[in-house]
Symmetry: C2
Subunit: 601 residues, 2 copies
């Protein structure tokens, strides 16, 4: 038994298993897209000190080898080790947001008849064959089922042995249209919901028999390497050599790594279905479909409604016949994530007019009620997702999610996720900080630092920055970025409302979605002019509503069907061709706005 | 330009292309399952003399290399060459049997409404996208089609570019349920029908727009290496390491090579669909499905009715989404070949009772009419297909298909296919020869040579043999084999009729199917006691009815549907559990039979 010390200050015990497994046992999850087979090369770590036995150096360059890089899944410590972990780790949480889990449970408590998972188990007793009846095994299974279903090839291949070994009595796993697999006794029936965000990927593992959410895992979308927003990704996919395949592989590897992390932790079950929500570009990239025409007027996708495709079609490391359901899109810039989000809020059942704003790398806005829904999209950039700014990070342990500034003492009070040492700033922290800086006269209406307003303003990397802690700061370019982002969102909302002849006061509820973590101070978002100035009680923060919607669909074929209808019902409004949007955007490039009266409460 | 001389006496010109292509141009078709990419190693030939440049020796052992073996697809002559061709070559014919081609054309002349190929082309004009309508490309194609169809992934992947390059106007290829591909302008729409026999594989290339049969290609089933009949193949598949995969690969390689040979010769079109007929074991092996339980009582297959599977599921070298239809089976020993054969004879529409006998490696027998059909199977062995006897060969060029013996002069007169030098004996020749030898007192009633009855009887390989020509002979074991085979068929027929309380005289028509070539002397088959003794005009020789049926289904979705119903309608009778069959078989081990009166006309 040896100790493994990490550069992040943790100590893990090695008991003869691989580095990857030792870290997993201690709750440190490297991305291992191939499931630890030594193939994908993603679980690369650097051994800074200590002796290690390595089985394979596949995908490690000669130079990296000299520097001490190894594949964690192929390495066995032979002394105490000092390890440098990669920046990209997977976060596992029991509940990402209490609200979200409750939304799911409450929904099915209210609508128990809708609890109807995308896959189910059925027990059948099959008539044994007789000399007088030469029907095939499959034909006898069909009779036992009594309903017309398709059968996966994988099911048929195993059928003769499984039937005879189980004495003609089987538990099969079925979708609405197909018998996909067998459920071995004692094995739990799991499903996975996925939100593919431009910046972040989150998966939820769900027990589809008990109808319980088990765990969540998340990581950055590896495509970030190839561009911050959907437009740069589309350009990379269509112009770089093998670009589409590279981006497809990124997201498939991420999902493989996330699902693998959760299944390693939950070995009692097997994943039999996946339900995916993502924006139109992300779902195109996930399925390897050319997204080129999404960015060219008239901005249409190749498809909004996805066929019944399988894990093998996506090259996920699950069993090849596992169905992958994709929540349908509305248009090139209104994706399945928004359809899922509306479903999570049940906005399509509301009597009064509501507003839905999903703040991610794109900002999508939907207005409407049970009779009509109109959607628009604006490019916000990734800064509310903890990317694209100097010290940005996702809403995980160590992220500053709120800041209180005391002008008199020039000190800050921080709220850090996990109550640990701050290591970065997540989306809600970004909003909080800008609001506090403006409120306290450290940045002006244009978002520029006011010289000498705080000792915490220092010069770093050729520009001014406000230091929140030793290692966390926000620069002038970060703030410029944030102002542009919030302006895009606000301008989108106000343009859409005005184009529809609506006043902000007409809105009865405003659903705010986004991967901000548990906490978002709506008042501060209003204060910086990101959200319209309405009574606080009209705002409902719904967190990652896309994931919530994907979980709901995973647990309910009926809801997935509603999603298919909803996608066709929503009308798309193109902001980019609206003259009013440009005006609104330019006016919103101030804190809170050029027309201050809009923000007087 | 160099001359290539072959060990079979042909001279071919090399004009800078590969050996494979030079031979192809001259009508000599090696099996090249990978289509000449240098991967499969099947087009191996030996260069006995001459200089040759070779690009790759993949799949050629060091030892073979020393002996002069090369891949024909990777080799370029650099001098005059003397070439040793492999034994297994592909035969290409314009018409395998005139009768068969006529059956197809006559059928559709009589039933024009049934002409409804498994794939069709449809021309559509798609609405170009507009800013106000964010529907995806696929959704607009759906609207243009106006019918609910599935779409292959391959179709969707190419869709955005194809739509725009063709100015929103497309010709698509569709099955009854799916849009599978595009038809480029000037490209013909081809389909392929396949008969997978235990001994021989035959394919037909069909123009599905003009509804014309183009060409046929055939070769031995490569599985022969692993056993002569279905039982030994099943044993190999289930007991040898990777046996099932080896046998699956054999038949897939054969079909790839045959289809490739025909598409190289007919470059104006593309193959968009395949329809396969074969016995139950062959179809199981083709699809990689475990055939083990077919040989164990109660002899049931894994499945009789096959799902909508694709070229990729079979690993055929066609485009991955090409659908492969399999004609359904009835039971473990009554396969899709028999269902196809009945369809070819239209026996399921007959008022009077008919008999269908398919003489292949299995002998299948069906009795019935439009109201009922009962089928049985008996193991005949491969000797009527030109295998399993000393000088056996398929009914191709050089095969003796008939023999007349003159007792006085002890001479023979031969009918050889292609009127060339005899190189072997095909199925019809086997029947002719045994009948002549018996008639002329050279073999006795037990099928044993009568010493000194002819100077042509010589001792070879430790047994007596009758020499038909210098190099073609028939041995005592060959004749024993043939007697057992004919006994199995006759006993099958007579048992089934007697079990049903029928007399041979009750049969209005007897359809004889089998790969005998153009010619089969029914009277001689009766004379040796293989077929019941009925007026000659009740016999109808239908040749390879399985292939004819597969062609009919390829050209008619309606007929394929009828085949599905027919497979369920036919009752299976198990001869192996019938005491009467054993008695009948033992009585039939004589020429023509122990009860000679059955054969007195």
């Amino acid at each position: 038994m040896f100790e493994i010390k990490t550069n992040t200050g943790e100590t893990v015990l090695s008991e003869g298993e691989t580095l990857l497994e030792s870290l997993q046992k201690a709750g440190i999850y490297l991305t291992a897209s191939c499931g630890g087979k030594g193939i994908c090369g993603k679980c690369k770590v650097r051994v800074a000190q200590g002796k290690i036995r390595v089985n394979s150096f596949l995908n490690i360059s000669e130079n990296e080898k000299k520097l001490g890089y190894v594949l964690a899944c192929q390495s066995f410590p032979e002394s105490e080790i000092l390890l440098e972990l990669p920046e990209k780790l997977i976060t596992v949480t029991e509940r990402i947001s209490t609200a979200k889990v409750d939304v799911v449970y409450n929904f099915f408590k209210k609508n128990p008849t809708l609890l109807n998972p995308l896959v189910k188990k059925i027990h059948i007793k099959v008539q044994p064959p007789q000399l007088e009846n030469p029907e095939g095994d499959l034909e006898r299974v069909k009779k036992a089922l009594g309903v017309e279903l398709l059968f996966s090839r994988e099911f048929i291949e195993l059928l003769p042995e499984v039937l005879r070994e189980n004495n003609w009595s089987l538990t099969v796993v079925v979708t609405q249209k197909e018998v996909i697999d067998y459920l071995l006794s004692g094995n739990k029936l799991y499903g996975v919901a996925v939100d593919i965000g431009t910046t972040t990927v989150v998966v939820a593992l769900v027990d589809l028999e008990k109808n319980e959410l088990i765990e969540f895992a998340s990581c950055y979308n590896s495509q970030i390497l190839y561009g911050d927003d959907v437009i740069t990704r589309i350009i990379y996919a269509t112009e770089a050599p093998r670009g589409l395949e590279i981006l497809r592989r990124c997201i498939v590897d991420d999902i493989n790594a996330l699902v693998n992390t959760l299944t390693v932790r939950n070995k009692e079950g097997r994943v039999f279905v996946i339900c995916i929500a993502g924006n139109t570009t992300m779902t195109h990239l996930f399925w390897g479909i050319n997204p080129n025409y999404i960015r060219q007027e008239p901005y249409v996708p190749v498809l909004n409604h996805y066929p019944y495709w399988k894990a093998k079609d996506a090259e996920l490391i699950l069993d090849s016949q596992i169905p992958i359901y994709t929540i349908p899109s509305v248009a090139g810039f209104i994706g399945g994530d928004i359809v899922a989000g509306l479903l999570a809020c049940q906005m399509h059942n509301e009597e009064d007019i509501c507003l839905f704003i999903d703040i991610g790398t794109n900002g999508e806005i939907v207005v409407g009620n049970k009779d009509w829904l109109i959607a628009a999209s604006t490019s916000a950039g990734p800064c509310f997702e903890g990317s694209g700014i100097s010290c940005g990070m996702r809403a995980t342990q160590g992220a500053i999610e709120a800041m209180k500034y005391d002008k008199a003492s020039d000190t800050v009070e921080l709220k850090v996720i996990g109550e640990s040492k701050p290591i970065g700033i997540c989306g809600s922290g970004v909003i909080d900080i800008v609001s506090e800086l403006f409120e306290n006269g450290i940045v002006d209406q244009k978002g520029k630092f006011i010289p000498n307003s705080s000792k915490r303003i220092r010069f770093i990397n050729e520009e001014f920055a406000f230091f929140i802690s030793d290692n966390c700061y926000i620069t002038q370019s970060d703030i410029d970025n944030i102002v542009r982002s919030k302006a895009a969102i606000y301008a989108g909302v106000s343009t859409l409302l005005r184009e529809l002849g609506l006043n902000e006061k007409d809105i009865s509820k405003i659903y705010i979605a986004g991967g901000f973590g548990e906490f978002l101070d709506i008042q501060k978002a209003v204060k910086i002019g990101m959200l319209p100035n309405l009574p606080k009680d009209r705002y409902i923060f719904v967190g990652n509503a896309s994931l919530t919607g994907a979980i709901l669909c995973l647990m309910s074929s009926n809801l997935l069907k509603i999603a298919e209808e909803l996608a066709d019902k929503i009308t798309y409004f193109d902001l980019s061709s609206s003259k009013r949007f440009t005006d609104e955007y330019l006016s919103a490039l101030f804190i809170p706005h050029t027309e201050r009266e809009r923000f007087l409460s």
